[in-house]
């Protein structure tokens, strides 16, 4: 389209849109809105939302449950201590809510004792390395993280998550997220990721799960 044609077309569209009547609420709707907003706010938990729970606190919750699950996994699989990469996955319905560990593999019982003092021993999951011979992806996702998210996706597919109850408003529409819906938050180490699934699809064995960094809304993995 030529520049002149384009300008003309845009001017016509703007003129058409400008011919629409302005929209506003009636006084009744306005007062109903305010009443409803305050009613909802006051009926909810103490507002506004408290500051996010520090990652250490979330880690304490995750590791406390980990101690139980590690035992269970070891009993079921008879395969504890196989030297596989350490992994700690936690899924939660909301930031700061109760945390559910859905997968854990660890060869020993370290990092499961006392974290109340804040002197938390860092699990190896925080040591993201680019080694391991895996090819780096375009946004340099550490291979360890990719492996963890892959395992996390497997757990999500088997229903090991609590559905999100609050709408996520922090990730605007991105082309990569078109047709997807966030349905869970996954915590890997001290970082939360949003798990997205195709619109209208129940999470199942074949579901492609897309992990999104909620801070940047970048897709970090698609499993």
């Amino acid at each position: 389209m030529r520049s002149h044609d384009r300008e003309e077309m845009e001017a016509r569209v703007r003129e058409a849109l400008g011919s629409l009547d302005p929209i506003s609420m009636s006084e009744t709707e306005r007062s109903d809105l305010r009443r409803a907003v305050w009613s909802e706010i006051r009926s909810a938990a103490p507002a506004p939302e408290p500051a996010p729970v520090p990652w250490r606190h979330r880690l304490v919750g995750a590791v406390a449950v980990l101690a139980v699950v590690v035992g269970g996994v070891a009993m079921l699989d008879g395969a504890s201590g196989d030297g596989d990469a350490d992994a700690l996955f936690a899924l939660s319905a909301d930031e700061g809510s109760a945390t559910t560990v859905v997968a854990a593999e660890d060869g020993d019982d370290r990092s499961t004792e006392d974290f109340r003092g804040g002197a938390v021993e860092q699990p190896e999951t925080h040591q993201y390395s680019n080694g391991g011979g895996q090819e780096a992806d375009p946004i340099s996702i550490p291979p360890d993280l990719t492996a963890m998210l892959r395992r996390s996706a497997e757990n999500l597919r088997t229903g090991g998550f609590t559905p999100l109850t609050a709408p996520l408003v922090d990730c605007p529409a991105r082309d990569e997220l078109e047709g997807l819906t966030p349905f869970a938050t996954v915590t890997v180490g001290d970082t939360d990721y949003q798990a997205w699934k195709p619109d209208g699809e129940e999470v199942g064995p074949d579901t492609t799960i897309t992990f999104v960094d909620p801070g940047t809304c970048e897709v970090v993995a698609s499993e």
């Binding site: 016509r12 849109l17 929209i23 506003s24 709707e29 907003v37 506004p48 922090d170 605007p172």
Partner: protein
């Protein structure tokens, strides 16, 4: 940050500390424009009222997260547009299934008014038929008068993406309004 932005930022900071009066002032300033955007996005008055309500509840709860990197209004638009997207995802039906209120207000005996009303209906329907991302860009830029960087902030996309969505949205509108060269 302009004085107005600073004032609003301060109001929102007070709201984050639980000052309901401060939040009421923010709400009064923006409620009509947020409602208008929701109404244009959803073409459904009841849904627009619900999403406007949801937007302010979310804003109050997230007030402590607002860092002042954009105007409060832009931040509210962002919440509103995302809530509209969520609403559209949840209700996958043709959006323009109820007439905007102004159609009922036109004088049915005045030919001019009827024609104007019909034309407005055509425009409303063309707008409602756009993909939601294009629609949001067109509404914010062409109807709310926001600058490209403001629209980019409100939609959380780069300015280049806004330009592209605007161009495509306008071209689709032109085509649907009977502009063969659009």
């Amino acid at each position: 940050m302009t004085t107005s932005h600073q004032e609003e930022f301060a109001l929102l900071a007070r709201a984050a500390e639980g000052d309901h009066d401060a939040f009421t002032r923010v709400m009064k300033t923006h409620e009509d424009r947020i409602f208008a955007v929701c109404m244009r996005m959803l073409a459904d008055r009841e849904a627009a009222l619900d999403v406007t309500q949801e937007t302010f509840i979310t804003a109050f709860r997230k007030a402590h997260q607002f860092k002042g990197n954009s105007a409060v209004g832009t931040w509210l638009y962002r919440i509103a547009v995302n809530n509209c997207y969520d609403h559209l995802r949840r209700n996958k039906r043709k959006p323009a299934d109820s007439l905007p209120e102004h159609f009922d207000q036109a004088d049915p005996f005045a030919t001019e008014a009827v024609e104007a009303s019909a034309h407005r209906k055509e425009i409303e329907e063309a707008l409602a038929s756009l993909p939601k991302e294009y629609r949001a860009a067109v509404i914010l830029a062409d109807m709310e008068g926001m600058s490209l960087p403001e629209v980019a902030q409100a939609l959380g996309v780069p300015v280049g993406t806004v330009k592209s969505r605007l161009f495509r949205g306008r071209r689709m509108l032109a085509e649907r309004l009977g502009e063969p060269n659009g």
